[in-house]
Amino acid sequence: MTTVQTALKKKGRKNGKRWTIHLFPIPALIIYSVFVLYPILAALTYSFYSFKGFSRESFVGFDNFVTLFTTEPYGSMFTNAFKHNLLYFGLQMIVMNGLAFILAFVIYKKVRGAEFFKIAFFLPRLLSVIVVGFLWKLILNPNFGTLNMLLGKLGLEELQRAWLGDPNTALISIILVNCWFGLGFGVLIFLAGFQSIPGELIEAAKLDGAKGMTMIRKIYLPLMIPSIMIMTVLTFIQSFEAFELVYAMQGSMGEPYYSTDTLAVFFYRLAFGSSTSGSSDAIGLGSALAAVLFFFILICTMIFLKFTNKKEVEM
């Protein structure tokens, strides 16, 4: 692959002001650094201090991190929440991204009414998470919710349950609502990916007699790697940062009985206290948890990007 740089070099000094290219990333970098990086880094330093109420007391080194993993109930809350995040990721990859890929392919293949379907799939994504949580709480309501009523009409009474009150179904219900919410975005990304595949490649493959599964395996899948990569990284990060919907549907306690707790909800509880009983003493612990979460996501993403970069180069 010839890079643009080599092209530039070949061209010599026709472009006298080549340094101006370095101005390109500056505006984004500045705003992003001031309003995201700086406050986060400032807050991360809290993880090395002990707190009493709102006042920072003394520098305690890694004490907060040690407490987080060795002291009960924090230790078991952490493992519990971590498992839920893993499930979040797994289910979203299979249900949401899997379905989105298929749907994008179907639309790409030009079903009639493609416009309508694209809009339909994407429409939930337009709603605010508060609205989404509220609507689904109503649909999943055990006594007057639509879902149980529908199951009743279909003669499936034994499937009726308190979806959000039963620890066995609460988390899965929330994750599926999240899939409902995020599906359209996945479809858009994958569709954009399919449509970026150069038409000549497909024509050439067809001329070579490729069809059906061979076509998908040899042409579509490899060329879809960039969009698959984007969706995987995004889903991974969003799964481990899962907060808004859980908070909107089950509050900051991960109810019932911590069965819907996630790391970010746990973090929120530590740093801001539960919403009704006032603030907690755990700003330091909360920051420590955020730091752990951060490094975990960072390392996983790095490994993942390394892996896919290699793949891309191989192609």
């Binding site: 689904w136 990304i189 891309e312």
Partner: protein, 275 residues
């Protein structure tokens, strides 16, 4: 290809219809319920409302300065989206098309923002906004939308810049085009699907954000729709019809904008970037 489409076409349609129904039903339920009374909603959640009247909407609109909220939301969202897309296109182009040794580092710094809850930094942020004199200014929201939208936008755009063939660009350079011109008139037009995606995503995020307005805006005249409507949850906790009307009002402008704008975006999508 023809053989396989014989059996797969019906299956395709069943699939897209099923998913579309599930996607649309809750939204339909929201519209429907806004015309019902609380008792109706609980006794017959699936049925149609017994009478149709816009009274709930009228009362709601007379209670909240919806037009003011709407104008604020439009100013914040449009400005944020235009700026974030311009800034991120520049940055992503730099990261994807040049091989300076620090490019991966820059890319990674941008990604960091997605990996940590921004809520963590809310106190330092508040102090920063106060010192910049941006409390109760729409600019505080615009800056936050740009900054928090940057990681995802850079990620998506960088990915798509990498898929663009270099030949066109090289040709343009041979014709003497500078960087900005290459980006503007060669690459970006090819990127319309991706641009459409990031515009939509950023617009939704900006439009629906309620955490930052909640913290940075205390004056009623500067509030945006989600925050203004959020108060309805408290005021009408028992009046479900009004609540649904409020939710509908909060979501409706976004949907209308989407329908109007989707033509543009979707055309971009179906036209196909590379012919």
């Amino acid at each position: 290809m023809k053989n396989s489409s014989m059996w797969s076409k019906p299956f395709y349609y069943v699939l897209v219809f099923a998913v579309a129904t599930i996607s649309l039903y809750p939204i339909f339920l929201m519209f429907l319920s806004s015309f019902k009374t609380s008792a109706e909603i609980f006794k017959n959640p699936l049925g149609l409302p017994t009478h149709f009247s816009l009274d709930t909407y009228r009362t709601l609109l007379s209670k909240v300065p919806f037009d003011q909220y709407f104008i604020n939301s439009v100013i914040v969202s449009v400005t944020s989206v235009v700026l974030v897309v311009i800034f991120c296109s520049l940055a992503a182009y730099y990261i994807a098309r040049f091989k300076f040794s620090w490019n991966n580092a820059i890319f990674f710094i941008f990604l960091l923002g997605m990996m940590i809850p921004i809520k963590l930094g809310i106190v330092p942020l508040f102090i920063l906004m106060r010192d910049l004199g941006l409390i109760n200014s729409l600019w505080s929201l615009i800056f936050m939308n740009i900054a928090t939208g940057t990681p995802l936008t850079v990620l998506i755009l960088t990915g798509f810049f990498k898929t663009m063939p270099t030949e066109l660009e090289e040709a343009a350079r041979m014709d003497g085009a500078g960087n900005l011109r290459v980006l503007w008139s060669v690459l970006l037009p090819l990127m319309r699907p991706a641009l459409g995606t990031v515009v939509i995503v950023n617009f939704i995020a900006a439009w629906n954000d309620f955490f930052f307005p909640l913290i940075f805006i205390t004056e009623k005249a500067k509030m945006t729709i989600p925050v203004g409507m959020l108060s309805l949850f408290g005021e009408h906790s028992a009046d479900w019809g009004s609540l649904f009307a409020g939710l509908t009002l909060a979501s409706l402008p976004m949907m209308i904008l989407f329908f109007v704008a989707s033509k543009q975006f979707m055309e971009g999508l179906t036209a196909g970037a590379v012919k």
